[in-house]
């Protein structure tokens, strides 16, 4: 396969078809480190205000990538551009390309609803559906998308709760309302709900910001485990958290991507002065 593609690429380059073939060439060239999500010249707008400016960034498969930066730097907006949730805010829109698995999710024929089924999202505040039981919360996405087979639903619910490290705590009270859980458990329930859709990319928007330290550390542990199967992008205002859980870190400031690299590099020897000042707590 790889050889064939390389051959293809060479051929197309000599023929001058490089424009149409571009995605393929890139993939071949970077075959040693596969990019799950490629963010290309993405701008995020609220009305006429540009909240993120020409961001370019490649996210590697089955890693944890953290977006950090001071409040209002656009890290959440950028995250919300990755599953087209951004445009659900009245007056907001985005442009540029976000390529997930070779498909530009901003492409003309792409239905954002379908995109959101494949890219899971966990929010700042736990938001389980209050009228649903624990079980139904996890099954919500499956049922929404037409899954009727009760055995399969039950299996996936159990598996998702196990993957979200919540199974042991709730296995005897699945019929209780999701709201009866503690805040940290609710957030893990929301993670289970997202995992039940078997997403390949999981977006997490400050998932521990409303939790106590114990709840937070459980989520962090979970993030480290989950990256074996899912590509995770996490927004956090907590630099220690970014250092603890992520493999790669992107530092944003006033809508610009200032620096992006391995978490070690960003925290140990950042290239940009702005990054260094932020990391060392001089502003933010």
């Amino acid at each position: 396969m790889a050889i064939e593609e390389t051959f293809d690429a060479k051929e197309s380059m000599t023929e001058g078809h490089s424009l149409t073939r571009e995605p393929r060439i890139n993939e071949t060239a970077e075959s040693t480190e596969r990019f799950k999500v490629r963010i290309e010249n993405v701008n995020g707008w609220y009305g006429s205000k540009r909240a993120i400016k020409d961001v370019n960034l490649n996210v590697r498969e089955k890693t944890v990538t953290a977006f950090i930066g001071p409040s209002g730097c656009g890290k959440t907006t950028l995250l919300r551009c990755l599953n087209r949730m951004h445009e659900m805010t009245p007056g907001a829109h985005a442009d540029g390309r976000v390529v997930v698995d070779g498909i530009d999710i901003y492409g003309k024929s792409i239905d954002p609803v379908v995109i959101r089924r494949r890219i899971g999202m966990v929010f700042q505040k736990p938001n389980p559906f209050p009228t649903m039981s624990i079980f139904d919360n996890v099954a919500a996405g499956l049922r929404l998308n037409g899954m009727r087979n009760k055995t399969i639903i039950r299996e996936i619910v159990e598996e998702s709760l196990k993957n979200a490290a919540l199974w042991e705590e709730v296995k005897n009270e699945l019929e209780k309302p999701g709201m009866s859980l503690s805040g940290g458990q609710q957030q893990r329930l929301c993670i289970a709900r997202a995992l039940a859709m078997q997403p390949e990319v999981l977006l997490m928007d400050e998932p521990t910001s409303s939790l106590d330290p114990i709840g937070s550390s459980k989520i962090e542990e979970l993030v480290r485990t989950l990256k074996d199967s899912v590509t995770i992008i996490i927004v956090t205002h907590n630099m220690q958290q970014a250092a603890r859980v992520s493999d790669f870190t992107a530092f944003m400031y006033l809508g610009d991507l200032i620096e992006y690299g391995s978490t070690n590099q960003i925290f140990m020897k950042p290239e940009k002065e702005l990054t260094e000042r932020y990391i060392s707590g001089k502003f933010g």
């Binding site: 659900m88 999202m121 559906f129 139904d136 309302p177």
Partner: protein, 330 residues
């Protein structure tokens, strides 16, 4: 310095005094206001019960199930049954038409329309809610009844020739069906305004939860918005139903005002009568004490009917979360 501290002492004692008095006044006011509602219910129940004692001692409980209505002295006989049916049927038509449209309006304004369309639209809806029912009644009497007759009733009659009992009635335009539609028009602004207000309470985080699972807008409304505010939506519908059941002048103008056994509707296109419209029609000319008592008793039945509907609605809302079969077998 000394005068200063003296002043300070005086002020603080004044402050304590005033605060206590203000509190007591406040408590008195709110308790009094709350007591007023109880007092009103008691007073209404009392006078309605006392007023209807005569007719119930003459006719017994049969008053509720009879259909004669004869006010001629010496041959007096009264029954409320046709008007109970008329009230329920016209209100049912109003709800069947009004609730889905109201919900659709509320969904459009709160979930779909951008603010620059939604805000003026919700303002207009509220404006409609303030139109007095007599205006709707006049419009229905002079304009709308002909539309109903020519556009709905005649075609249906021509097609089925009375073979379906539901539609079997010579088209006339002043009947239970027209009353139901006009009632629907009257209650739509109220129900949709309240529904919209209620739906605004749903936090965006709930909608985003549904969107993030790949829900469309409609699925989000069904999955995240409706369940969150179910009791509020039922409450809005009940408020509308209360208005429809008790609406008097509008109904009197368009329902046909039949009295006696003939007022039992044989189809939705029958002329009829509701409890409220009969009271409005006859109260001024009540010929005897018994006749007057019968009219008051209609009011009593109306009161019980509304309360019953409200209680049933509340029980429906209170139903516990449904447990999925999948979870039970765990």
């Amino acid at each position: 310095m000394t005068s200063n501290s003296k002043n300070h002492r005086n002020i603080s004692s004044l402050f304590v005094m005033r605060k206590k008095r203000g509190d007591r006044l406040f408590y008195g006011l709110v308790i009094g206001a709350a007591g007023y509602t109880l007092l009103m219910v008691a007073l209404v129940a009392f006078s309605v019960t006392r007023g209807s004692i005569d007719i119930f001692s003459a006719e017994g409980i049969g008053f509720v199930f009879q259909s004669n209505w004869n006010a001629v002295e010496g041959r007096e006989s009264f029954g409320a049954f046709p008007y109970i049916i008329g009230t329920l049927l016209s209100s049912a038509i109003a709800m069947a038409i009004g609730v889905p449209i109201s919900l659709a309006i509320a969904i459009f304004i709160s979930e779909i329309a951008p603010p620059r369309i939604g805000t003026p639209l919700s303002f207009i809806t509220e404006l409609l809610a303030a139109v007095p029912s007599i205006i709707y009644g006049l419009w229905a009497l002079f304009v709308f009844r002909f539309w109903v007759r020519d556009l709905i009733e005649k075609p249906l009659y021509d097609v089925f020739h009375g073979s379906i009992p539901f539609f079997a009635k010579t088209p006339f335009g002043l009947d239970i069906f027209t009353a139901g539609i006009v009632l629907a028009i009257m209650i739509i602004p109220i129900i949709s305004s309240i529904c919209r207000e209620v739906m605004r309470v749903v936090p965006d985080s709930q909608r985003e939860a549904a969107y993030s699972l790949g829900a469309t807008r409609w699925e989000t409304v069904r999955m995240a918005v409706f369940p969150y505010v179910k009791s509020g939506l039922v409450g809005a519908a009940m408020l509308g139903l209360g208005r429809a059941v008790g609406e008097t002048i509008l109904v009197t103008m368009v329902i046909g005002n039949v009295i006696g056994p003939g007022a039992i509707p044989t189809s939705i296109f029958s002329q009829g009568q509701t409890l409220a419209s009969l009271v409005a029609n006859e109260f001024n000319e009540a010929s005897s004490d018994l006749h007057l008592s019968a009219l008051i008793a209609l009011g009593a039945i109306l009161l019980v009917l509304t309360m019953g509907i409200n209680i049933v609605a509340r029980l429906l809302v209170k139903k516990k979360i449904k447990v999925s079969s999948g979870a039970k077998s765990q």
